[in-house]
């Protein structure tokens, strides 16, 4: 076997795996089309089970039934941070590996993150009125989450303004990474500053301080919302790939029309 044939055989035997395989948008679209209905179905089932458990959980001895807001507020808060962390990881993918789907993932996640953060603020505010006696206070936790919401809005505006070039994508990725500094600030704001918002009660080094009868429904709800978030993100990523294809086809159609117009002028001359 010649050296060239050997090399060709080696290249053919190397199958793309993991993230490399997904670098091909066509392969990603085919895989996501198969995965999406299952993911959505499982997410809705887990969420239904979580909400059922949440409404069967006992009321809190101090908060009464208002504690049930926690089963949606806490997962929204976790996911608003998880979404941004996912965007930051994708930003690394854009800057370091130049993965074609990394930029797609960032752009698709931003509106979803904005909605989850808005719901965190809204449900927290609805809980705060009967518990704290106020809809809003400018304490460190609430303010840093509000900053996260503004960052999502800023990134959405930035993506709309960008021309879709590689340089624009890298600039947006740097912005996302700079904004990631806010995530540890949100997480530790209740420890670093004196806040009205209570300290962490689930993700603690010494274990959760919530009773199991409330912790399990909360974890099932969090799992359901996480699966739903992943399904929404997958759907939004597919939409972003479609948008890019439409843009490319429109550009090609405009170029062809321009060329045909030029030929027509030449023929008349």
């Amino acid at each position: 076997m010649s050296e060239a044939t050997q090399t060709a055989a080696q290249v053919a035997s190397v199958r793309p795996s993991g993230l490399t395989a997904l670098a091909n948008p066509a392969r990603f679209l085919a895989l996501s089309a198969r995965l999406l209905p299952w993911l959505t179905g499982v997410a809705l089932l887990v969420l239904a089970a979580g909400l059922f458990l949440a409404f069967r959980a006992p009321p809190d001895y101090q908060q009464g039934v208002t504690v049930r807001i926690m089963y949606v507020h806490v997962p929204f808060a976790w996911l608003s941070m998880l979404c941004y962390s996912l965007m930051a990881a994708s930003a690394l993918g854009v800057l370091v590996w130049r993965h074609p789907l990394a930029e797609v993932a960032i752009r698709a996640a931003a509106p979803i993150g904005a909605v989850f953060t808005a719901l965190t603020l809204l449900t927290g505010s609805i809980w705060g009125k009967p518990m704290w006696g106020t809809w809003w206070v400018w304490d460190a936790r609430l303010t840093s989450v509000f900053v996260l919401f503004l960052m999502y809005l800023g990134l959405i505006a930035l993506f709309r303004a960008l021309d879709g070039s590689g340089r624009g994508a890298r600039a947006a990725a740097v912005m996302v990474l700079v904004g990631f500094l806010n995530i540890p600030i949100i997480k530790f704001s209740v420890d670093w500053w004196n806040t009205l918002h209570q300290p962490a009660s689930v993700m603690r080094l010494d274990g959760p301080t919530i009773h199991g009868s409330m912790l399990w429904p909360l974890l099932v709800c969090a799992l359901g919302f996480t699966l739903l978030f992943l399904a929404l993100h997958l759907g939004a990523m597919r939409n972003e790939i479609f948008r890019r294809r439409i843009e490319t086809l429109r550009r090609m159609a405009a170029l062809n029309a321009e060329r045909a117009g030029g030929r027509g002028v030449e023929a008349r001359a």
């Binding site: 949606v72 909605v115 939004a236």
Partner: protein, 50 residues
């Protein structure tokens, strides 16, 4: 309905509207873009055939 229960209802209603609206937006956007893509591909195919 007590004030506390009213707040719980408001929080769940807002959550359902937010998540439901987001899901509908993603689905509607996907359908509209797939339709546009099919139309553009068909147009490109007709041009190539000419």
């Amino acid at each position: 309905m007590t004030v506390h229960a009213l707040h719980v209802f408001a929080a769940y209603a807002a959550s359902a509207l937010g998540i439901g609206g987001l899901a509908l937006w993603v689905i509607a956007q996907g359908r509209a873009r797939q339709r546009s893509l099919r139309a553009l591909e068909a147009l490109g195919g007709r041009r190539a055939a000419r």
